[in-house]
């Protein structure tokens, strides 16, 4: 790896206009430009504001439960063999059960600083919705969550949770009735209520400054991992693996390592297979396009209509991906691989049985990938893998899948 060249490359991304190379940007209706300008300016100043950063650190530590442990998964490592050492970054132990809270606390605090009393959010599986609703309680904000009507059916428990947390869940009936359309509807709400409302976007996607801002809030994952790896092994990991949907846990995990000699692997959802139409591998199978205000890779048909993504894990079920990942792919700094639904289920059972850790189906893709590819990794590699969330929300899906724990043995 050309580490010195890379470090020059990665400093100062995105550029002043919000571009990551040819990706990113602000492709939104004019009505939103002013709000994005304000948000960019506010975030830029808060990034260097010691009071804000101190408050953020306080809530991350005492409310969200950071730092999360880095756990050396010895049973899993033994099972993989070849002297591999696997370290799990336990974002599943965050309050509300996933890394999403890192971002919602950051943006919730920001909303309070800029005087917005109402937040809106989009959600697919409901994890970001729950984190946003939780944060709204913490900071005394009102919260509306847009969710596809299909997803509301599939994720009844999280819908109930959001209700308990005092958020209003607004069903979206347009288009595919899933995350993509919930995002459209949230943007439409924001266009209408831009003076009073902060749009708390849940992944490292959307128009500038969101991809950079969400990355920064999630980079706490990678910063902690770096310190913990140094403490536990005195070195950095050789390989890092994370699942990629919109890509917020992966970019947060990878970002502090971009200038280091560490091999980075993002795992996309291959659904029922890359050769079918039922997958969510925007980086591997998508083409360059514009969706939700950013230029990135998009799953689309020959007429430029956005296609539906498909994955067993609702959190990866998104037909595009954050623009920084698009650039990381183009430059070759990160390698993007895939795991199918079946491999994800296998990963789920593997980690549950070997370590007693039930991962969400999103990071289960990373485990599934690791299980398949471990033999090709250099002997005695140290592998850090991000468990972005816990599996409770997916138990119904696991239960109804054909694979049970016995077949995983």
């Amino acid at each position: 790896m050309k580490s010195t060249e890379q470090s020059k490359k990665w400093k100062g991304k995105p550029d002043a206009t919000g571009h990551f190379g040819i990706f990113g940007g602000r492709f939104v209706p004019e009505t939103l430009i002013n709000a994005l300008d304000q948000l960019t300016a506010a975030y830029r100043s808060l990034k260097r504001d010691r009071k804000f950063q101190k408050e953020l650190a306080y809530y991350l530590a005492h409310y969200a439960g950071r730092p999360t442990p880095l756990y050396e998964a010895q049973n899993l490592s033994r099972a993989l063999g070849r002297g591999l050492r696997v370290f799990l970054k336990r974002e599943d132990l965050c309050h509300t059960g996933a890394h999403k809270i890192n971002n919602t606390i950051g943006q919730g605090l920001l909303a309070r600083y800029i005087g917005k009393k109402r937040i809106i959010a989009e959600t697919g599986a409901g994890q970001h919705g729950v984190a946003a609703a939780t944060t709204a309680r913490l900071f005394g904000l009102s919260c509306d969550v847009y969710m596809g009507a299909e997803d509301i059916q599939r994720q009844a428990l999280n819908v109930y949770k959001m209700g308990l947390l005092g958020a209003r869940v607004i069903p979206v009936y347009s288009g595919s009735k899933t995350l993509k359309d919930a995002t459209n509807e949230a943007i439409r709400d924001w266009v209408t209520n831009v003076d009073t409302t902060h749009y708390l976007l849940g992944s490292a996607v959307g128009p500038h400054p969101y991809p950079a801002m969400v990355r920064d809030f999630q980079s706490v994952i990678g910063r902690e991992t770096k310190m913990q790896m140094r403490k536990m092994t005195r070195t950095l990991p050789d390989i890092m693996v994370a699942c990629v949907g919109g890509g917020s846990n992966a970019i947060g995990f990878f970002h502090p390592f971009l200038d280091d000699r560490v091999k980075l692997i993002g795992v996309e959802a291959a659904g029922k297979g890359l050769n079918t139409k039922h997958h969510a591998a925007s980086l591997r199978k998508g083409t360059i396009g514009v969706l939700h205000g950013m230029k990135s890779f998009v799953l689309q048909d020959p007429n430029g209509q956005v296609q539906l993504a498909d994955s067993i894990s609702a959190g990866l079920d998104y037909p595009s991906v954050g623009p920084e990942h698009a650039l990381l792919k183009e430059t070759g700094r990160v390698r993007y691989e895939t795991a199918t639904d079946e491999e994800a289920l296998l990963g789920f059972h593997l980690l549950t049985l070997l370590e007693g850790i039930m991962p969400a189906l999103e990071p289960a893709h990373a485990i599934g990938y690791l299980a398949r590819r471990a033999r090709s990794f250099p002997r005695a590699s140290k592998i850090a893998l991000c468990i972005s969330g816990r599996g409770d929300k997916d138990l119904e899906v696991v239960r109804h899948s054909k694979m049970n724990s016995r077949s995983a043995h």
Partner: protein
């Protein structure tokens, strides 16, 4: 030579006439209705047709145009259908100004430079892209100029003064003023600060200022065109096309009622 849009804008200015621009979703309810409608609207005296190419994720649009777009996409409408239709209409001698309206993704997927050539060859006068603000459109402006096409930009009520001035300068043909904070779709009244904002924008530029989003009644049309140079009406027309066979007649008579209201003297 000026394109049809520029010519029409000049004529209107000379006569002191107000401009009426009608938005239609290509292929809703079907391609032949779109064709019939353009002809009928031209006959009724519309000045500009904004032909909308549907996109799966129209984030500036309200329920009416979302619905029309989804229906048209189901019929597998292609950009080439738009080019073919306009080429055919031009061959028949139709002189009304026609702009393509679409989100950036379908155009980018088709290839921007290829699309610009096709727009030019088929007889379009320009392009409106609601998710292409001037900051991102800059690199294409000279291409549009070279092919004698107008790239129309939008100004919103949230746009600050300096930026609005810059947009007005760079918008080609006319300036599209978004009447409200929100998405497209019929509204029963105009937003209270619209007239005041329009006066400010009118002072910034000599280019015609046309107002779109929410315009849906003769009363609104009249109030707006007291200050603005024209109106853009979309959802209120498209809504009437849902009414089956009678849709075209109903849409055209509705458009005529707005045009009449704009022309009426005090």
């Amino acid at each position: 030579m000026d394109n049809q849009l520029i010519q029409r804008l000049k004529e209107a200015k000379g006569k002191g006439a107000k401009l009426f621009c009608a938005y239609l979703t290509l292929g809703f309810p079907n391609l032949s209705t779109t064709e019939a409608l353009i002809l009928a609207l031209a006959h009724a005296g519309a000045d500009i047709i904004e032909l909308g190419f549907p996109f799966s994720d129209p984030l500036a649009d309200g329920p009416t145009i979302q619905f029309a777009s989804a229906q048209a996409i189901k019929k597998n409408v292609r950009l080439n259908d738009a080019f073919r239709l306009v080429r055919k209409l031009r061959k028949r001698g139709l002189r009304i100004s026609i702009l393509l309206f679409t989100y950036l993704n379908p155009i980018m997927h088709y290839g921007m430079s290829r699309a610009i050539r096709q727009l030019h060859q088929s007889g379009f006068d320009g392009l409106i892209v609601p998710d292409l603000p001037p900051d991102e459109g800059k690199m294409w402006e000279s291409w549009f100029q070279r092919f004698n096409l107008s790239l129309v930009y939008l100004i919103a009520p949230t746009t600050d003064h300096a930026r609005a001035k810059e947009i007005a300068k760079r918008s080609s043909g006319f300036v599209y003023y978004v009447s409200l904070r929100g998405v497209t779709g019929a509204r029963s009244s105009i937003s209270p600060d619209l007239i005041r904002n329009l006066r400010i924008v009118k002072k910034m530029t000599k280019k015609p200022v046309l107002v779109g989003f929410g315009v849906s009644s003769p009363k609104q049309a009249r109030a707006i065109t007291k200050v603005a140079d024209g109106i853009i009406v979309g959802s209120a027309i498209v809504e009437r096309l849902k009414g089956g066979r009678k849709g075209v007649r109903s849409a055209v008579s509705f458009a005529s009622s707005l045009m009449a209201a704009m022309k009426r003297k005090e």
